[in-house]
Amino acid sequence: MKLNELTIKQSIEGLRSKKFSSEELTKECLKEIKKKNVTLNAFISVCEEEALKQAKRADKLISENQEALLLGIPIALKDLFLTKGIKTTAASNVLNNYIPQYDGTVTSKLKEAGAVIIGKTNCDAWAHGSSGENSDFGPTKNPWNEEYVPGGSSSGSAVSVAANMCIASTGTDTGGSIRLPASFCNVVGLKPTYGRVSRYGIIAMASSLDSIGHFTKTVEDSASLLNVTAGTDPKDATTPNVRVDEYSQDLDKGVKGLRIGIPKEYFMEGLDNKIKEKVKRVIKFYEKEGANIVDISLPTTKYAIACYYIIQPSEVSSNLARYDGIRYGNTRMEFGSEAKRRIMLGTFTLSAGYYDAYYKKAMKVRTLIKKDFDDAFKKVDAILSPVSPTLPWKIGEKVNDPLKMYLSDIFTVTANLSGIPGLSIPIGFINDLPVGLQILGPNFSEKTLFRIGNHFERSNKNGL
């Protein structure tokens, strides 16, 4: 096995037992980036020099027998995460020359844990998109078939992990932007509970929905990354002072006795039949392993996309108002077409005369969607569903039909509207394209999600 193919856990074991150095590990990742990035376009910036410096520093600490949770591990950051002294673009031409003066909280935490920041990944500009095609730096390609989209908006982050260009990567999830690309690229993607991970120093999309998460090769790795990033932050007033679990505990506890809900609204028309069959087989697996499968209903689901496509653009239009080209970045002329579309839509739904009919109405529907989940979690510990109603689509297929593109988020936006955490895990392939399973749970139940996901992963090495 090549070093760049290792998981976080395997890398740490190898580094500690001096089988290889962080410099060697980092060089293998850099080599893979050089080889594949020309076609996959997963990275906007590669921090070769800085990464090798960090790797050497990590090697020195390791030789002194110092320990840190991610010491010497090459990690890529979505280009929405501010990195001091390293260009941060949000994949938009508005910020193609922006060099942050400070690190965001997650960036700082990763560095403090010893991670090597290897580069900044491509994404839909401002995280607006479900396919990765809206980047002003060109689309990212799916490593399983380069004619297909990798899913978005955290396209490059998902691809960088799937194509072994790094060991793990970070992402943001406002309506599915981690879970969808994870499912399209056959990697594990976590959207934590809203507020579990600080948003400080990450370019905002829709502030009441943005969740900060990551991509890994295994569920176990996802838990160990959350151990580093989770926690309250005085610089983000939406991070509640709720105890941070030891996420790597209980991974092997199995699913016996867990009550798992299957929401009928997530298996209705519009869902690809082959995906439906595959997810049902996964449900059977969990039942066989001792979980109690419970049929549930989330009746407001069919209104979720409409609700989301009012609240999200409203917040987008407000957040993007700050980009005036005066203090940093370029002028508003540089916004791409999707950003303009959302700014226009949001400005309209917030404007005088329309606020009540749209924004206020959507906030009320949001209450109903949240209530659906509150009611469901009185009966079940977690919920299983598909991540996407379709398989990855061909590049270019939906670019001229924004509404069709928006509808691909149907199974993921509900978690953002209600704040709950969601984990996407690979469950196998259909037509040689990856398929993911979504595991949802009540607020701050990440530990249970890891336990459920890990149980499938351990028992089905190659999916179902």
Binding site: A237, I326, K360, G419
Partner: protein
């Protein structure tokens, strides 16, 4: 739903080209007609959810902390003078 794209673009401070107006009007009308399905739901007595944390009035102690230097703050601007951001005049001279 008819949307006055010129007016909205002005509110949003976006300088759009003539062909963009037509396309946006078409696309936004389509999206808005989809969004209309929310009107089917009766939400008369439902409270609004603007954020889900339940947190209120989170403040910090009113104490100064180290912050960026003036030089750092100005490091990304294309237009500065005497350690300040230089912008176009807002008020016209008499």
């Amino acid at each position: 739903m008819k949307i006055n794209v010129k007016h909205v673009a002005k509110l949003a401070n976006l300088d759009l080209k003539e062909n963009e107006f037509d396309e946006l009007e078409k696309q936004l009308s389509l999206i808005l007609s989809y969004i209309e399905n929310l009107q089917e739901l009766n939400t008369e007595d439902i409270e609004e959810t603007s954020q889900i944390t339940g947190l209120k009035n989170i403040t910090r102690e009113d104490k100064t902390e180290p912050s960026l230097s003036q030089e750092e703050v100005l490091s990304n601007t294309k237009s500065k003078e005497n350690g300040l951001f230089k912008v176009k005049a807002i008020f016209e001279e008499q």
